[in-house]
Amino acid sequence: MDNLYRDFILEHYRTPHNHGVLEPHDLHFADSNPTCGDEMSMTLRLDDGKQRVVDVAFDGRGCAISQASASILTDELRGLSLDDLRAIDPKDVVENLGVPIGPARLRCALLSYKVLQGAVIGAEARWPDEAEVLAGANEGGSAP
């Protein structure tokens, strides 16, 4: 079980990247994981053409998995187009954590993805299909 809390995850939890609120910003969304009470918001600044991400930040409180997931995901977003953001595969978000995620913690790992999609569409996004994500994560052999 300690391997779920590898130093990599704990580092992101203790000193998250891209943490805070961007002012001004172009996109903003706040969402929560009702099963654990985690709340997360994301702000994104776009380029002059409002096409590509220039900067991004997330804020909120939550568990090590959700905070590390947001820290890792936001690191990947600069330079991406809005279409790129929409096309992000939730399986990759889980896989990028590099630790095995079971069904009980899947939503912790996916909250950042859901908040990001909410920011892109300007409304609450759906949770990805959990069975599909889990199947993909297992196939991908993300376990260390």
Partner: protein, 421 residues
């Protein structure tokens, strides 16, 4: 406030020895360690006696109840009704006719909310619930308030997790028609002084709905002595099967209430023009009930009665005292709820500085320790104390002092992984 059930003579028992009665403790855990189950406030494992009773019910005593003119159905009916009688005795109900089988405490409270609530409440009426309640004793009242135009207010909590007596009195002075509260808080462990609160509520003209889901499994409960008007409980939290629970209510109130659900069994005569309702409790038991589960519940009651509910309470009180003290020694750990073991059941909610409760529970699981993390279906409690969630350890008959050591050990593991100061 007064202690309601003074402890009579108590016979200590060995929780570890009782674990032999529960097959789940033989189940291998991926940690390689024996299961340390500290989530009984959510649901309890089942002793072999209950599992056997379920199998025996389906194997040898199963037919539909109340209607069959043949031996097997008469047998099933007698055993189903005997379970009702056993439950009535177990909770001190004056009559088994006042015990209605439902799926769980949630359905029991919904029954009162829909049936009593919608025929007795209207605009201008006040409903009182509390900030302490499980969503099951909160959302149904929100729904009834919305449907009837009644106003819903909540009794406030003190910083140490009790119902604020001054706030309670002030709100009762406005003469609510109903007060709904729990005997034991599932999120805080608080034991409320039910008899005293009920006296005050009755003095103000309110009927009292008691959520007894967390008390009936863990301490002697006598609904007549407590003086409440309705009490709700779940079988699955008291070693019984899931899918069966009960509502107890005063006969005169139940008689005056319209049915909750309608259909078969709950009628005496149906014509195309209309229907006459059956008597209580059957008026409230539409359709085929949970027959085998009722027989399983009777076996659970028998198991608990053999231990003795005063002994169960004393056992959990001891576990609470040891765990409360041990957790109090952990740096950065905050315990919720009252300090006094008189007012705190075997449920401890806590938060660990810098570690989210979900991470705590995951790390505990790695040590084979099952606890709950989250809002415990009591989000207003979390809001009251400005917490996203807590970790909750809850005790029952099969726990012992070794489990407290496992709990403390798992906290040490958590602090080590997170490098707690």
């Amino acid at each position: 406030m007064a202690i309601e059930q003074a402890a009579p003579d108590v016979t200590p028992f060995d929780g570890a020895a009782l674990r032999a009665d529960f097959p789940v403790f033989d189940r291998p855990h991926r940690s390689g360690r024996a299961l340390c189950y500290l989530d009984s406030a959510a649901s309890s494992p089942k002793p072999q006696a209950v599992i056997d009773a379920l199998a025996d019910a389906y194997g040898h005593h199963y037919a539909n109840v109340h209607r069959g003119i043949y031996e097997l159905s008469e047998d099933a009916t007698a055993r189903f009704e005997a379970a009702r009688t056993a439950l009535a005795r177990f909770i001190g109900a004056p009559s088994e006719r006042e015990v209605i089988f439902v799926r769980n405490a949630t359905e029991a409270i919904n029954l009162v909310a829909y049936s009593w609530g919608r025929s007795n409440l209207g605009p201008g009426d006040l409903i009182l619930s509390t900030e302490m309640e499980h969503h099951a004793n909160l959302v149904p009242w929100q729904q009834v308030a919305a449907a009837t135009g009644a106003t819903l207010e909540y009794v406030r909590l003190t910083d140490d997790g009790r119902l604020d007596p001054d706030d309670l009195r002030a709100r009762l002075a406005r003469r609510p028609k109903l007060l709904a509260f729990s005997q034991v808080s599932n999120a805080l462990g608080t034991i409320n002084p039910v008899a005293e609160i009920t006296r005050l509520a009755h003095g103000a003209g309110a009927i009292v709905v008691l959520d007894a889901a967390q008390s009936v499994p863990h301490m002697p409960v006598d609904v007549a002595a407590l003086g409440v008007d309705f009490a709700a409980l779940s079988g699955h939290k008291m070693l019984g099967p899931s899918g069966i629970g009960a509502l107890w209510g005063r006969r005169e109130l139940l008689d005056a209430m319209p049915p909750f659900m309608t259909g078969g069994s709950m009628i005496t005569r149906v014509t195309l023009a209309g229907t006459e309702w059956n008597e209580v409790p059957w008026k409230f038991e539409a359709g085929t009930p949970a027959i085998a589960e009722a027989m399983g519940l009777a076996a659970a009651i028998e198991y608990l009665e053999r231990i003795g509910m005063s002994n169960v309470r004393a056992h959990e009180r001891l576990l609470f005292e040891r765990a409360w003290a041990a957790l109090g020694d952990v740096p950065g750990l905050r315990r919720l709820g009252p300090d006094s073991p008189d007012d705190h059941a075997g449920v401890i909610s806590f938060v660990l500085d810098g570690v989210h409760p979900h991470d705590v529970a995951t790390i505990f699981d790695g040590d084979g320790v099952a606890v709950r993390a989250g809002h415990h279906c009591a989000q207003p409690v979390m809001q009251r104390y400005d917490l996203p969630a807590t970790t909750r350890a809850s005790f029952y008959v099969y726990n012992d002092l070794d489990d407290i050591e496992r709990l403390v050990g798992a906290i040490d593991t958590t602090r080590r992984i997170f490098g707690a100061r």
